[in-house]
């Protein structure tokens, strides 16, 4: 397999800045895979259809032709949701990788009808494996009683390549949370594309913990007047994990609003490329965009690359971005350690505290607790 260039930024910059795309060497893309069957679906107020044809139009950005074609032309799971009416119930689609379901190529399309409301969670996790190599650990993913040799053998290299497409019609209000809890040796590729019509409101949350490579392309087209998208994302890296996050918002509608808030922590030799773009198109008068990214560096071998772009061809807008990176605050650590915690525990507390602002937007308590436990496990 030749080197694969993925996740191109909307605008290129100098090649030696190493951020126009990510290059993966020797990526093994599965060609023959069976249907993915380990799925739980619990959806309220919507028509769910696993057979209906879903959109085949090309993504505006996406991760690149090869992965996009795979997910469009030969998915092993297609899901189409038509959301009608209003519901506060938490709906969930949960994909659980295991020895029989190692490859997931999913194509999900969500149509939110006018005035509809929904709160949807999409989770990618695994079982029958472990995120640690110790059979006695408290990792919730561990199957207790199994010996450590067996667990190590089941430390699978899963493959996920997916597309999530949302079309939010006028006055719809959607909360969508995507949680990636795969292990650190899997491959995770995800393209997300949202189209927001007049007054549509989208609260999107991404929790990105798993994958040797976790490559995400997120694009929202704020087409409608007064449409709004809040994107909250957290990532947590360990070992040699690589995150390539390309979040793009195109503000076209008058008074449209896009807020991107990203918090992350990197441990071990993990690496993160954050590319966030607010693109104010001509005509987007009174549009507003804010973008903040903060990366906590938990080790001196972790690497953080950030490219927060502002593109603007309309004068009557407000655009702000800020990024920051640095070590955990010495004072914070000292204070917590003076209360009897060791350094690792203090570090976990601080990371959890930094993530809390975003985690608090997740209404599904059991999922939130699972994420909190994962943070602890992954920082062990």
């Amino acid at each position: 397999m030749p080197d694969l260039k993925l996740n191109e930024t909307p605008v290129r910059t100098a090649r030696n800045f190493n951020c126009n795309n990510i290059v993966l060497k020797d990526l093994k893309i599965p060609e023959n895979y069976k249907a993915f069957n380990n799925i739980e679906i619990d959806i309220d107020n919507s028509k769910i259809d696993l057979e209906e044809e879903i959109s085949s139009s090309k993504l505006t950005y996406g991760l690149g032709d090869l992965l996009e074609e795979q997910a469009m032309k030969s998915p092993n799971k297609k899901i189409k949701l038509n959301i009608k009416g209003k519901s506060n119930k938490e709906s969930i689609i949960s994909f659980n990788f295991n020895e029989e379901n190692k490859n997931l190529i999913d194509n999900i399309e969500i149509i939110a009808e006018e005035n509809s409301k929904a709160n949807i969670f999409i989770k990618y996790s695994f079982s029958n494996s472990t995120a640690c190599k110790n059979a006695n650990c408290e990792n919730i993913m561990c199957e207790k009683g199994k010996n450590s040799e067996k667990l190590n053998n089941s430390y699978e290299n899963y493959y996920h390549n997916g597309i999530i497409r949302l079309f939010a019609k006028a006055n719809s209000s959607i909360k969508l949370t995507v949680v990636n809890l795969l292990n650190e040796v899997s491959q995770n590729f995800l393209s997300i594309e949202n189209n927001l019509q007049e007054n549509a409101n989208l609260d999107f949350c991404i929790v990105d913990f798993g994958g040797k490579n976790s490559i995400t392309n997120y694009y929202t087209n704020l087409e409608g007047e007064a449409s709004k998208n809040n994107l909250n994302a957290i990532y947590l890296g360990k070992d040699e994990q690589v995150f390539d996050l390309n979040y793009i918002g195109a503000l076209r509608g008058k008074k449209s609003v896009m807020n991107i808030e990203v918090q992350g922590a990197l441990n071990g030799k993990s690496k993160k490329n954050f590319k966030g773009t607010l693109d104010f198109k001509r005509g987007a008068k009174k549009a507003k965009g804010d973008e903040n990214e903060f990366c906590m560096l938990l080790s001196d071998t972790a690497k953080s690359l950030a490219l927060p772009m502002l593109l603007c061809e309309e004068e009557d807008v407000e655009g702000n971005h800020s990024t920051a990176a640095g070590k955990l605050g010495g004072k914070e650590l000292f204070y917590i350690m003076s209360r009897g915690f060791n350094k690792k525990e203090a570090m976990k507390l601080i990371v959890r505290a930094k993530f809390n602002k975003i985690l608090d937007t997740i209404s599904k308590e059991d999922l939130k607790n699972e994420i909190l436990k994962e943070i602890d496990n992954r920082l062990n």
Partner: protein, 468 residues
């Protein structure tokens, strides 16, 4: 009722657009071949090592691709550019000896006057050669060298060989390679150990000849504990066809030294300004850049500080002003390569009348740069809805012991700020004028006085109504 927009006038270019007759002593034929490079070397009586260097740079140029990013450079056709134009003047040390038409040009640009009042030394380049160079006596006595590059190659060969295109190697990018092949003119400054040059030196570059290029090379070495303020100015009259500027600035700021490099770039709007500037900064040394970019049709300019010495510092303060037909792609690059280094970047831009401003940058804090700090701030002001303003900063942090922050803003003049000032008794027009001048003030206060005046003239407000 539709409000009239405030007009922010572009610079009055009457002075800069004075065209002299294209009356040269020698103009090389257009294009870029081995024969042409050899001819330039013959004309300049290069030593053998320089001839070989040029030919090697040409090979690199032919191998490298055009950038795959940034403004469209497709209109640049090297077969239409004459890379060497020798004016009808030798190098002079007295303004009286400079030929009348050239002298008149520099007189109108205010260069001799500035020399008398506020400078320690002046260099003036006309097309491809320096026509005037002088420096105050006391600096000569202290061992300061300020001369044109050709003289430096002849008279200080060891110093030049040791430093020439070592800071900016020819394979950096295509236009550096081009520069290496055809460079001509420019200034050489050497400030000996512990010598403080209190009054600035200034070089002024003027390109008069149409369909030609200027490729001056500036090499400055500030030895340990020494300090210098160097000012660079550039302009050209406007022609219908493309002119090219691909200069190169190499700065060596040794341990505990200080260098401030100020530039006012005011090329004509048919100029492609593809310039390269880089500084290597030693232990506890400081490198300050002040940059005003107003001219050019296309500009791609990203000065760079490499903080190699422990405790070294750099500061960049820059403003770009893009009007009709201009695409100014400017920014800054800094590499933190040692412990306790710090950088402060403050960039501003104003776009109007369909102009495009792009701020493009790189901050890299390497693994060995423990306890380093970097703070970046960039602000863009859009004055109408046909212009464009982009911010494309790359922040590459490779160690945890850092404090790094970056913030950027984009938008129009705040209604709230206008309202506040009006509530204090200012008229709407005065309030807006104050805000635009205030926006540019952090930059203009860093410029030498006469340039600050020039910049304020440039941001000449003609207030008719709401800027929004």
């Amino acid at each position: 009722m539709e409000k009239n927009k405030t007009q922010v006038e572009e610079i009055n270019r009457n002075i800069y657009d004075i065209k002299n007759k294209d009356d040269y002593d020698f103009k090389i034929k257009k294009g870029l071949t081995k024969e042409i490079i050899n001819e330039i070397s013959d004309q300049k009586k290069d030593p053998d090592w320089m001839r070989e260097f040029r030919l090697k740079a040409l090979e690199v140029y032919n191998k490298l691709e055009l950038p795959t990013w940034g403004p469209d450079l497709s209109e640049l056709n090297m077969n239409e550019i004459a890379t060497y134009v020798r004016p009808k003047s030798k190098l002079n040390t007295s303004w009286e000896d400079v030929p009348e038409d050239i002298k008149n040009t520099f007189d109108k640009l205010g260069i001799p006057e500035a020399e008398k009042t506020s400078l320690a030394g002046v260099g003036a380049q006309y097309d491809s050669e320096v026509v005037y160079h002088s420096m105050k006596e006391d600096l000569i006595k202290q061992g300061v060298i300020y001369t044109d590059m050709e003289t430096a190659v002849r008279e200080y060969p060891e110093l030049v060989k040791e430093h020439f295109m070592k800071c900016v190697p020819v394979y950096d990018h295509k236009f550096v390679a081009l520069h290496g092949a055809v460079w001509s003119g420019g200034s050489f400054v050497y400030v000996p150990k512990n010598v403080k040059v209190d009054i600035p030196l200034q070089s002024y570059f003027r390109l008069n000849s149409p369909e030609s290029g200027q490729f001056e090379h500036t090499l400055i070495i500030v030895e340990e504990g020494a300090s210098l303020h160097f000012i660079e100015g550039c302009s050209a009259p406007k022609y219908n066809k493309v002119n090219l500027h691909a200069g190169c600035v190499e700065l060596y700021v040794k341990d505990n030294a200080y260098l401030r490099y100020s530039t006012i770039e005011n090329w004509s709007k048919n100029m492609l300004n593809l310039n390269t500037k880089k500084a290597i900064v030693g232990k506890n040394a400081k490198m300050d850049w002040v940059s005003g970019s107003f001219g050019s049709k296309i500009s791609m300019l990203y000065p760079m500080s490499i903080l190699n010495g422990e405790g070294s510092k750099t500061e960049f303060t820059g403003i770009s002003f893009a009007g009709k037909g201009q695409n100014l792609d400017n920014g800054f690059k800094v590499i933190h390569n040692a412990k306790n280094t710090s950088s402060v970047i403050n960039a501003k831009s104003i776009s109007k009348n369909g102009g495009t401003c792009t701020y493009r940058s790189l901050v890299r804090i390497n693994e060995n740069a423990k306890n380093s700090k970097c703070s970046v701030s960039c602000e863009s002001l859009m004055l109408d809805d046909i212009s464009k303003s982009d911010t494309i900063p790359v922040n590459d942090i490779r160690t945890d012991e850092v404090e790094f922050s970056h913030e950027a803003k984009i938008g129009k003049i705040s209604d709230k700020a206008i309202f506040y000032l009006m509530s204090r008794g200012l008229s709407e027009e005065d309030a807006k004028a104050m805000i635009v001048r205030g926006f540019a003030y952090p930059i203009s206060k860093e410029l030498p006085l006469e340039y600050a005046v020039e910049m304020n003239n440039l941001i000449n407000l003609e207030l008719e109504g709401a800027i929004g």
